[in-house]
């Protein structure tokens, strides 16, 4: 351990009031490790590592991850993009899916390995999305496997359940599986404007098919700035369909994919939801085609991936805590 560095740490951190931060200059990864070890043994916290300095918080801090509800912590939920191609080409799609999109299907063997690691890593529930997941012909096998290990939700537009896909749909387990079906409005206009002519009627029919087959159905609406008072009408439809509160989702369009308007999102402003695609791991499923939101090229090992995302969230939260607490009103 470098005597000069430790002396500097004692001097600088010692002169920093508890709850405040200081920057200690370092020369290379070796010194960063010394600082981390020293902080750990003296009750201080490394907030951030910069190119030539380490930002240190004087005193221990409560773990901001522990303050989150369990189901909002990274790794509670695992999102899997089974594929990216879709029978629709919604004009707000956050990952630019369409019939022309490269499918990028996760191979079935890898899917199985991912589920195994998810269970091992303590994941509590799975969300499968796309693209339109039911375009993957063997989705029924994947869903059967997934639901045998963890509660699973699959997002769908409920429009492709015909022929062989309908027969496979009927064979799916009911226990542990939720069909989350997209429906953006009670009347066809708004829905069809963004998702394609005739898609509202088909989606509504799909909802009834799923309900009639005994599936647990959740209906999810995505609304943009032109939604107006559509949400009120949608609530009336939800009531008519007999949906409980936990079977209703209304969310806003994010400015991602092909959406040219919508909510601005980034890693810093979203709680991470670990999301695996054929291309790698992403911070959140709403931005699984945005290079800035890519965490890793490979999900393996999943536990380490979750830990990495948790550490990034923790560092950002700690920094925000310190910044907000600098209110000089003594």
């Amino acid at each position: 351990m470098s005597f000069a560095l430790v002396s500097r740490l004692i001097e600088q951190v010692g002169a920093t009031p508890a709850g405040s931060t200081c920057l200690v200059s370092v020369d290379g990864p070796g010194e960063v490790e010394v600082v981390a070890t020293w902080c750990d043994s003296t009750g201080n916290v490394v907030l951030a590592v910069h190119a030539d300095a380490v930002e240190i918080h004087r005193g221990r801090v409560a773990d901001p991850i522990a303050a989150l509800p369990e189901d909002r912590r990274p790794g509670y939920r695992l999102w899997i993009y089974t594929n990216f191609h879709c029978n629709l080409a919604c004009d707000y799609c956050c990952v630019a899916s369409s019939p022309r999109a490269v499918p990028r299907v996760i191979p079935v063997d890898e899917f199985g390995e991912l589920i195994d690691e998810a269970v091992e890593a303590g994941v509590r529930e799975l969300y499968l999305t796309g693209g339109e997941p039911f375009l993957v012909l063997d989705l029924d096998e994947r869903l059967t496997l997934a639901t045998s290990r963890l509660p699973t939700t699959v997002l769908t537009n409920a429009m492709v359940w015909t022929g062989e896909r309908r027969r496979r749909l009927e064979r799916l387990p009911r226990e542990g599986l939720t069909m989350q079906i997209s429906l953006d409005s009670a009347d066809p206009d708004l829905h069809d404007r963004h998702r394609g002519d005739g898609s509202h009627a088909k989606a509504l029919a799909g909802i009834h098919v799923a309900l009639d087959l005994g599936f647990n159905v959740r209906v999810a609406a995505t609304m943009g700035s032109d939604a107006g008072t559509e949400e009120e009408k949608l609530v009336a439809l939800f009531d008519e369909l007999g949906l409980r509160d936990d079977q209703r989702v209304v969310r806003r369009v994010a400015r991602q994919g092909v959406a040219n308007a919508g909510l601005s999102v980034s890693r810093a402003s979203l709680l991470p939801e670990v999301c695996v695609t054929a291309d790698g791991v992403w911070w959140h499923p709403v931005a699984a085609a945005d290079p800035a939101m890519k965490v890793r090229d490979s999900w393996r090992p999943l536990r380490a991936t979750i830990d990495e995302m948790t550490d990034e969230l923790r560092a950002h939260r700690l920094r925000g805590d310190v910044l907000a607490s600098t209110f000089p009103c003594a």
């Binding site: 009031p17 508890a18 709850g19 405040s20 909002r72 700035s225 969310r251 806003r252 994010a254 400015r255 308007a261 919508g262 909510l263 601005s264 999102v265 980034s266 890693r267 810093a268 402003s269 979203l270 709680l271 950002h316 920094r319 925000g320 805590d321 310190v322 910044l323 907000a324 607490s325 600098t326 209110f327 000089p328 009103c329 003594a330």
Partner: protein, 274 residues
């Protein structure tokens, strides 16, 4: 009582360990003045207001909420002597996610509004009053409340941050945040702020002040305030204190800046206490 003491005693609330070096610095600055002072720290503003009214201290460094309460409990006889320049330009911002299409208070009808602690002027009391002034009652919105660090009157910034995070966690559409907290996050380069925007900002109002009762000798008060106002940004030692305390220049208090909070606390029935 104050005449019997050699030094004026100033009360302040220890909302953070950082306040100790600030008050030690201010005490040192007054050491060779006509009115040397010492300080006493309290755990919360209610305790400090009671101490001022009981004559345990001569001056109290009060938040705006503590000042309104002091004035009320003293029967209108308390005086606000001095304030920071930054206390005269305080604001509340309503912060939402960029691209959410919200602009102005009327646009918040039907949305989820996150508010801070019940004793925070900037994050709870005034935002509710500003909303009602624009015709938005609590029944017109879904309030998401964060009663964090109650007793500190919002000084720790904790409830502002909790409210702001409710926006990034999709638990709220907008958050009421004090201009100090929003400014600190922007100045510190908090990356989440890039996805957020001010959808409404209040007019300026006043925040902290040095409060005293009318029993404090006017000559002593004036001597103390005059020396305080003479603190010089260009003097390195004095500048250190000013920077820590978040101002460039001390000012005489102007009471008009407390009108909105006074009205808010009276309309919400919290002028005397909770």
């Amino acid at each position: 009582m104050s005449e019997a003491r050699d030094e004026l005693v100033v009360g302040a609330v220890a909302y953070s360990a950082n306040v100790v070096p600030i008050w030690e610095g201010i005490r040192d600055y007054f050491r060779d003045s006509a009115e040397p002072m010492d300080f006493v720290l309290y755990s919360n503003y209610e305790r400090q207001v009671d101490a001022l009214l009981a004559g345990h201290i001569d001056l109290a460094w009060n938040t705006n909420v503590a000042w309104v309460r002091t004035l009320r409990k003293s029967g209108g006889t308390a005086r606000a002597l001095a304030t920071r320049d930054t206390d005269q330009t305080f604001q509340t911002f309503m912060i939402g996610r960029k691209g959410g299409g919200l602009e102005g208070l009327p646009s918040l009808a039907g949305t989820r509004v996150a508010l801070g602690s019940r004793d925070s002027g900037q994050a709870r009391i005034l935002p509710l009053w500003f909303l009602e002034r624009d015709g938005i009652t609590p029944k017109d919105v879904e309030l998401v409340i964060f009663d964090s660090d109650v007793g500190k009157h919002g000084d720790t910034g904790r409830s502002d941050l909790d409210a702001l995070r409710a926006v990034t966690e999709d638990e709220a559409d907008v958050a009421a945040v004090g201009s100090n907290t929003w400014g600190a996050l922007l100045a510190g380069g908090d990356a989440a702020t890039a996805d957020l925007e001010v959808v409404w900002e209040s007019e300026h109002y006043n925040h902290c002040n040095f409060s005293a009762l009318d029993t404090l000798d006017e000559d002593r008060a004036e001597a103390w305030v005059s020396h305080l106002l003479a603190m010089d940004w260009d003097d390195p030692d004095q500048r250190r204190i000013l920077e820590l305390e978040g101002l460039r220049q001390w000012k005489r208090a102007e009471l008009e800046g407390y009108a909105s909070l006074t009205a808010a606390m009276e309309s919400q029935g919290i002028a005397d206490g909770w």
